[in-house]
C-alpha cells in the first residue's frame, strides 16, 4: 500500500492551467469516485486557487491514472499538456509534503493562514464521502496538529507581509485594540482601501473624505462608514485616531501646525498618520511632533519586506519541526505494519503451548504447586526463545529508516506471517 500525493501548484503550473483544473466543492464527490475507480483505496482532493492536489492510498497509481483522474470531465484540458506540470510524491515524501502544505510552508505567501482551513475542509468533504480510511485519517490528523504546533512554536504567521496589512499592524502597536478607533481615508486608492478593509475587520469606524463628495459616499458605503466634508477634515483631525491619505492633491493637505493643534485638542492621545500618496500629502515635519506617528509608503514597504525576510527565517525553523514530525509519524506507521504480526505470533505460540500442555498433562501425574509452576515457566521460556528472533528482526526493520527504498518491514512481516501460518487479523 502506497501513499501518493499528486497535482499541480503555483510553482509548477501557471494560473491559466490551475483555474481550469480547480474543482468546485460540488464537483469533488464525483472526482473522488473517479479516483477510486482508478484504484485508489482512500482519497482526498484539495483544490484552492494555488493548488489542485490529489492524496490517495493505493496498491499502485500510475501517472496516467492520476492524470486521468485530474483531467476527467475538465473542459479544455489536454492530458499531455498537463503532464509536465504534474508532481508526484510517495510515502515519506508525501507525508512531508502534506505537513508542509498544512503548515503553510508550501504556500505562495508563506505563513498565510487560510490553507489549513481549506485542507480541513477537503478532509471533511472526503470523510463525508467515505473515502477516508485509517491511513489518510492518521496522516491528515497528524498534519493538522503539526500545523498547529508550528503556528504556536514559531512566528510563521506573525508578521504582516503586505503593505496595507503592515499599516494595520502598526496601528495595533500604537493603539492596542482597534475597536471603535476612528479612521479617516483621504482620497481613493487600492492600498488605502486594503488598509481600510483590514481596519474595518478589526472593529474600527471608517470615515471617508474626497474632493468629489460622490466618490466619498460610494467608498463609505463599501466600508459601512461615514463621509466627512473634504474642506473641514483638517479641523476635525482631533477626533481621529488614524488617517490614511492617498489623495492626488499636489499640495500638502495636512501641515505640521494643523496636526500640532489637533494633538493638543485631543490631549496628546497618539495619532497615526499614513501617507501613501506620491507626492506626499502630509508635511514630513509632522514626524517631529510627540505623539504623532507618520509613516509613508516607503516606510511601510520596508517593514513589509523586513517581515517577509523574517518569515523566511522562521520557515527554516518550521522545516525542522516538519522533519521531526515526519520521522515520528513514519515510525508510528511502521510499527503499525509489524505490531499486529508480533501480537498474532505471540498469541499463536501461546496457543500451541497451552494445547500441548493440556494434552500431555495427564502423563505428568500429580504435581505439587511448585512443580506445576516450574512446568509453566519452562514451557513459556521455550516459546519466548523461539519467538525472540523473528520479533526482534521485525522490530529492527521497523526502527530502521528505509531511506527512500521500498519499506522492508512489510516484507519481513509477511515472511513471518507465512512461516508461522498466522491468520490475517
Amino acid at each position: 500500500m502506497k501513499l501518493v500525493v499528486a497535482g499541480v501548484n503555483h510553482r509548477t503550473a501557471p494560473v491559466e492551467l490551475r483555474e481550469k483544473l480547480a474543482y468546485r466543492p460540488d464537483e469533488i464527490p464525483a472526482a473522488l469516485i473517479e479516483l477510486q475507480a482508478q484504484g485508489a483505496k482512500e482519497a482526498i482532493i484539495l483544490s484552492t486557487c494555488n493548488r489542485v492536489e490529489l492524496t490517495a492510498t493505493a496498491e499502485d497509481l500510475s501517472d496516467d491514472m492520476l492524470l486521468a483522474a485530474l483531467g476527467a470531465g475538465r473542459a479544455g484540458v489536454i492530458l499531455e499538456e498537463l503532464r509536465p506540470h504534474l508532481y508526484r510524491l510517495e510515502n515519506n515524501a508525501a507525508i512531508r509534503h502534506l505537513f508542509r502544505v498544512a503548515a503553510s510552508l508550501d504556500s505562495m505567501i508563506v505563513g498565510e493562514p487560510q490553507i489549513l482551513g481549506q485542507l480541513k475542509q477537503a478532509y471533511s468533504l472526503a470523510r463525508e464521502h467515505g473515502s477516508v480510511g485509517p491511513m489518510l485519517d492518521t496522516v491528515l490528523t497528524r498534519a493538522f496538529s503539526v500545523a498547529k504546533r508550528i503556528r504556536s512554536e514559531t512566528d510563521i504567521g506573525r508578521n504582516a507581509v503586505s503593505v496595507s496589512y503592515a499599516a494595520v499592524e502598526l496601528a495595533r502597536e500604537i493603539f492596542g485594540s482597534l475597536h471603535k478607533r476612528r479612521v479617516l481615508i483621504v482620497g481613493a486608492g487600492k492600498m488605502s482601501e486594503g488598509a481600510a478593509r483590514h481596519l474595518m475587520n478589526a472593529g474600527a469606524e471608517i470615515f471617508v473624505t474626497n474632493r468629489t463628495p460622490e466618490r466619498a459616499a460610494e467608498m463609505a458605503q463599501l466600508f459601512r462608514g461615514k463621509t466627512m466634508r473634504y474642506e473641514v477634515f483638517p479641523q476635525r483631525l482631533a477626533e481621529l485616531d488614524v488617517v490614511i491619505t492617498s489623495s492626488a492633491a499636489p499640495e500638502q493637505v495636512l501641515t505640521r501646525e494643523t496636526v500640532r493643534r489637533a494633538l493638543e485638542a485631543r490631549k496628546h492621545q497618539p495619532i497615526f498618520l499614513i501617507d501613501i500618496a506620491v507626492p506626499r500629502n502630509i508635511d514630513p515635519a509632522v514626524q517631529d511632533l510627540e505623539h504623532a506617528f507618520l509613516y509613508d509608503i516607503d516606510d511601510l514597504k520596508r517593514l513589509a519586506d523586513r517581515n517577509l525576510e523574517a518569515r523566511r527565517g522562521v520557515a527554516q525553523e518550521a522545516e525542522t519541526i516538519v522533519a521531526e514530525e515526519v520521522e515520528r509519524l513514519e515510525a508510528k506507521l511502521r510499527e503499525r505494519e509489524v505490531g499486529p504480526v508480533i501480537v498474532s505470533l505471540q498469541e499463536q505460540l501461546e496457543g500451541i503451548r497451552q494445547d500441548v500442555l493440556i494434552r500431555h498433562r495427564a502423563r505428568l501425574g500429580s504435581l505439587t504447586e511448585e512443580q506445576h509452576s516450574a512446568v509453566e515457566a519452562l514451557t513459556r521460556a521455550i516459546v519466548n526463545k523461539i519467538a525472540h528472533a523473528p520479533i526482534s528482526e521485525m522490530r529492527r526493520e521497523a526502527a530502521e529508516k528505509s531511506g527512500g527504498e521500498a519499506p522492508r518491514e512489510a516484507e519481513v512481516a509477511s515472511v513471518v506471517r507465512r512461516m508461522f501460518r498466522l491468520r490475517e487479523r
Binding site: N159, G176, K267, H268, E290, F293, D299
Partner: protein, 268 residues
C-alpha cells in the same frame, strides 16, 4: 475652641479629597457639586477658626508653622472658590482639594492629643505601612510601564518595529497601565500619608513636624500630586509623564531609605 473648628474644616475638606480620588478613576464630575459644597462649608469653618484665634490673640495667627500652614490653606481655598465662581474650572479641584486638606490637617495638629493604647497604635502603624507599600508597588509598576512606553515610542518614531517574538506591548495598553497604576498608587500613598501624619502627631506631639522623614514623605506626596494633576488637566503623557513617574519613584526610594530604621517604632 478654634482647633475644633479647624478639625471640622479639615474633615469637610476631606470630602473634597475623596472626590479628587474618585475622579481619577471615574472621570465624571457628577460628584463635583456635593464635594464643592462640603469644601465651601469647610472654608467657612476654617474662617471661623482663624477669626476666633485672631480675636483671642489680637493679631493674625501666624505664630508658628501650624498656623501659617492653616492660614495659607485657607487663602488657597478662598482663591479656588473665587476662581471657580468666575471661570467654572472644576479640574483644578483635583489638585487643590487634596492640597488644602493636607495643609489644614497639618495646621490642626498644633495641640497634642491624648496618647493611644499600644494595640491601637500598632494596628495603625500596620495600616500606614501597608497602604504606603501598596502605593509604592503600584508606583513601581507604573514607572516600569513608563520605561516600556518610552522604548516602544522610540521604536515607532524611528520606524524600527522589530519583527520578532518579543514585541513590546502597544502604546495604548501601556498608557492605560500607567494611568491606572499611577492613580491606584496615588490613592494608597495618600491614605498612607494621612495615617502617617496622624500617627506621627499623636506619637510625638507637636514636635512631629520637625521630623525630616515626614517632611520628605510630604514632599514625595506633593510631587506625586503634581504629576497626577498634570496628567489629568494638561493631558501629559508619554515621555514627560514617564520621566515624572521615574522622579516620583526616586523620591519614594529616598523616603523609604529614611525609614530604614523603622524597627525602633514598634512598641513592646
Amino acid at each position: 475652641m478654634s482647633v475644633l473648628w479647624l478639625r471640622t474644616a479639615a474633615a469637610l475638606y476631606g470630602c473634597g479629597l475623596l472626590y479628587a480620588l474618585i475622579y481619577l478613576f471615574r472621570k465624571s464630575t457628577r460628584l463635583f457639586r456635593p464635594a464643592l459644597i462640603a469644601f465651601g462649608a469647610g472654608t467657612i469653618f476654617h474662617l471661623v477658626s482663624i477669626a476666633e484665634l485672631w480675636a483671642e490673640t489680637g493679631h493674625l495667627p501666624l505664630n508658628n508653622f501650624y498656623e501659617t500652614s492653616s492660614v495659607c490653606a485657607f487663602l488657597i481655598a478662598l482663591l479656588f472658590l473665587l476662581a471657580y465662581t468666575r471661570y467654572q474650572i472644576s479640574v483644578f479641584g483635583v489638585c487643590i482639594f487634596p492640597l488644602v486638606f493636607f495643609m489644614t490637617m497639618i495646621g490642626a495638629t498644633e495641640f497634642p492629643v491624648a496618647k493611644w493604647s499600644p494595640e491601637f497604635r500598632n494596628t495603625w502603624l500596620v495600616i500606614h505601612i501597608a497602604t504606603v507599600l501598596i502605593g509604592f508597588a503600584a508606583l513601581i509598576f507604573s514607572a516600569m510601564a513608563s520605561v516600556y512606553y518610552l522604548l516602544q515610542e522610540r521604536q515607532l518614531k524611528r520606524k524600527d518595529v522589530t519583527p520578532s517574538a518579543n514585541r513590546l506591548p502597544p502604546l495604548g495598553t501601556l498608557d492605560t497601565i500607567i494611568t491606572q497604576s499611577m492613580n491606584a498608587g496615588f490613592v494608597f500613598i495618600t491614605i498612607g500619608t494621612i495615617t502617617g501624619v496622624i500617627w506621627a502627631f499623636i506619637e510625638s506631639g507637636t514636635g512631629w513636624i520637625g521630623n525630616p522623614k515626614i517632611a520628605f514623605f510630604l514632599f514625595t506626596w506633593a510631587v506625586y500630586l503634581a504629576m497626577i494633576f498634570l496628567r489629568v488637566s494638561a493631558g501629559w503623557r508619554g515621555r514627560r509623564i514617564a520621566w515624572l513617574a521615574v522622579t516620583v519613584l526616586g523620591c519614594s526610594v529616598i523616603t523609604w531609605a529614611t525609614h530604614a530604621t523603622l524597627g525602633s517604632f514598634w512598641q513592646r
